[in-house]
C-alpha cells in the first residue's frame, strides 16, 4: 500500500471520528432527550467511532463504503432537518454552533476521501501493470 493511500485512510478515520465526536457531544449535552433524534445521534456517533478505529488499523474496503454511506446519510439528515424536518425535528441555519459546521465539513471530507480511496483501489485492480508493481513491492492488500 502506497503512502498516499495510507494518508487517505488516516484522513477518512480522522474525519469520521470528528463527526462521531461532534454527534456524541451533542447527544450528551441535550439531544439525548429529543425523541428519535437522540437515538439517531447515539447510533451515528458509536458507528462512526467504530468504523474510524477499524479503518485506521487497515480494514477491508467495505469499511470505506460503510463510512461513505454513514457520512452521506448524515448529510442527508442534516439537509432534511434544515428544510422539511426529520421526525418532527428541525433546526435553523448553522445551529448548534460550532458542531453543525464541524460535522458538515467532516462528513463532506469523509465522502470525498472515501471516493478517492475506492476509485484509486479500483484503478489499481483494473490495471495489471499497477497491480504487478504493487505486488512486486509488497504493497498489495488482501480483502
Amino acid at each position: 500500500m502506497n503512502f498516499a493511500k495510507i494518508i487517505t485512510r488516516i484522513g477518512i478515520a480522522v474525519t469520521l471520528a470528528a463527526s462521531g465526536i461532534s454527534h456524541a457531544y451533542l447527544y450528551i449535552h441535550g439531544y439525548q432527550h429529543i425523541p428519535t433524534i437522540g437515538t439517531a445521534f447515539l447510533v451515528q456517533a458509536s458507528v462512526s467511532l467504530a468504523l474510524a478505529a477499524l479503518i485506521l488499523v487497515g480494514g477491508p474496503a467495505w469499511l470505506q463504503w460503510a463510512a461513505a454511506m454513514l457520512a452521506g446519510g448524515s448529510l442527508v439528515a442534516f439537509g432534511l432537518s434544515r428544510t422539511v424536518g426529520l421526525f418532527g425535528f428541525s433546526e435553523h441555519g448553522w445551529q448548534p454552533s460550532p458542531h453543525a459546521v464541524l460535522s458538515l465539513v467532516a462528513e463532506l471530507l469523509t465522502v470525498g476521501l472515501c471516493a478517492v480511496y475506492l476509485v484509486e483501489g479500483r484503478r489499481v485492480r483494473s490495471s495489471p501493470q499497477i497491480a504487478m508493481s504493487e505486488l512486486s513491492t509488497g504493497n498489495a492488500s488482501v480483502g
Binding site: Y27, V47, L54, W62, S90, P96
Partner: protein, 309 residues
C-alpha cells in the same frame, strides 16, 4: 457460483466476518460508553412513573375563520379529547397563548368553556399577541388572570419542579418583550431556589432567536435566561410558531410547540408567516398536543408530540 470472478474463499469469508464482528462490537461498546457518559444509565435505574406529567396545548385561535381551518373550535375540542385520552390524568395542562384569534369577549367565553372539558386538576395559561390585540391584555386577564402578578405572569412549584409563566406579548415591537418589571420578577422568583431545582418556563413567543425576521424571538430574553444559568435543568416551552422545533443552549433547552388551529410556514419560507392551507387529510397531521414528563433524578424532561390524527 464457483466460476464467478470474485468468489470469496473460506479464509476471506472468515476474515470479513471478523472485521464485521469487530465493527458491530466496537459500535455497541462505543454506544454504551456514550450512553453512560450521558447519564442514561442512571436514567434507566429511576424509570417508573414520572414525578410530574403534564400536557401542552397552544394557539387554538378560537374565532379564526380562514380557509386554513374552517372549524378551529372542533380542532381544539379534538385536542382536548386527545389530552383526556392519554391514559393518565396529567398533573396540569398549559396553554401557551393565542387562545383566541381576536380577543373578543365571545371568543374568551368560548375558549374558557371548551377548556372546562379538560380532565386535569389545573389549567395554566399565558396570553398570545392575539389575546391582547386592542387592550394590552385586559380582557384576557379578566378571564384568565386570577392569581397572577403584574400583567399576567406568575410562578408555582409542583412535585419539586419550579414553573414560571411569562408574558412576552405585551409592548410588542417586532420581537417579544418581557420588560423590566417582569425581569425583576424572574430574578427575585428564583433567587432563593437551590441550583438543582428543575425549572420549566413557558411563554407564548420563543425565548430564543428562532427567526427574528418574523418576530420569532424575545428581545430581552437573554437577561431572563441569565438568572437561570446556574440551574442544572431549564426547559422553555412556547407556542406562537405553530410548529415543533427544539434547540439546546448550554443548560437550557427550548421547545416550540405546534398548534391546534392551522400551520404556519417553516422559518424563511415565503415573505411572512401566513396561515398555510393544507389538504383536509393532511391538516390533522400538522396539529397536535405535547406530553411532557419529568422523572426525579433526571436532568431533562421527556417530551412526546401527539398529532390530532
Amino acid at each position: 457460483m464457483t466460476d464467478a470472478p470474485h468468489t470469496m474463499n473460506r479464509r476471506q469469508l472468515i476474515r470479513h466476518s471478523a472485521w464485521f464482528g469487530a465493527a458491530v462490537g466496537l459500535a455497541v461498546v462505543g454506544g454504551e460508553v456514550i450512553s453512560h457518559v450521558a447519564g442514561t444509565a442512571d436514567a434507566a435505574r429511576v424509570q417508573g412513573r414520572p414525578t410530574l406529567r403534564f400536557a401542552q396545548v397552544s394557539d387554538s385561535h378560537i374565532g379564526f375563520t380562514g380557509k386554513a381551518n374552517s372549524n378551529v373550535a372542533s380542532s381544539f375540542s379534538e385536542a382536548i379529547d386527545r389530552i383526556n385520552n392519554l391514559g393518565y390524568t396529567p398533573d396540569f395542562v398549559i396553554h401557551t397563548g393565542d387562545l383566541t384569534h381576536l380577543a373578543t369577549p365571545d371568543q374568551f367565553d368560548q375558549v374558557k368553556q371548551l377548556m372546562t372539558g379538560l380532565r386535569t386538576p389545573h389549567v395554566f395559561t399565558v396570553p398570545g399577541e392575539h389575546d391582547s390585540v386592542d387592550d394590552a391584555g385586559q380582557k384576557y386577564r379578566s378571564v384568565f388572570g386570577a392569581g397572577t402578578r403584574g400583567d399576567g405572569w406568575y410562578s408555582f412549584d409542583i412535585a419539586g419542579v419550579h414553573v414560571i409563566a411569562l408574558v412576552n406579548t405585551l409592548n410588542l415591537k417586532k420581537l417579544g418583550h418581557l420588560g423590566a418589571d417582569q425581569l425583576d420578577f424572574v430574578a427575585k422568583d428564583v433567587a432563593a431556589l437551590p441550583s438543582d431545582t428543575p425549572i420549566i418556563v413557558f411563554s407564548h413567543i420563543p425565548l430564543f432567536a428562532m427567526y427574528p425576521d418574523w418576530g420569532w424571538g424575545t428581545d430581552d430574553a437573554a437577561q431572563a435566561l441569565s438568572y437561570l444559568r446556574r440551574f442544572s435543568s431549564v426547559t422553555c416551552l412556547n407556542g406562537h410558531v405553530h410548529q415543533v422545533f427544539s434547540k439546546t443552549e448550554g443548560n437550557v433547552t427550548f421547545y416550540s410547540g405546534t398548534t391546534t388551529a392551522y400551520p404556519l410556514p417553516h422559518p424563511g419560507d415565503g415573505p411572512a408567516p401566513k396561515p398555510v392551507t393544507l389538504p383536509a387529510a393532511q391538516l390533522h397531521d400538522a396539529l397536535g398536543i405535547r406530553e411532557v414528563s419529568y422523572t426525579k433524578g433526571q436532568n431533562a424532561l421527556a417530551l412526546k408530540e401527539r398529532t390530532l390524527q
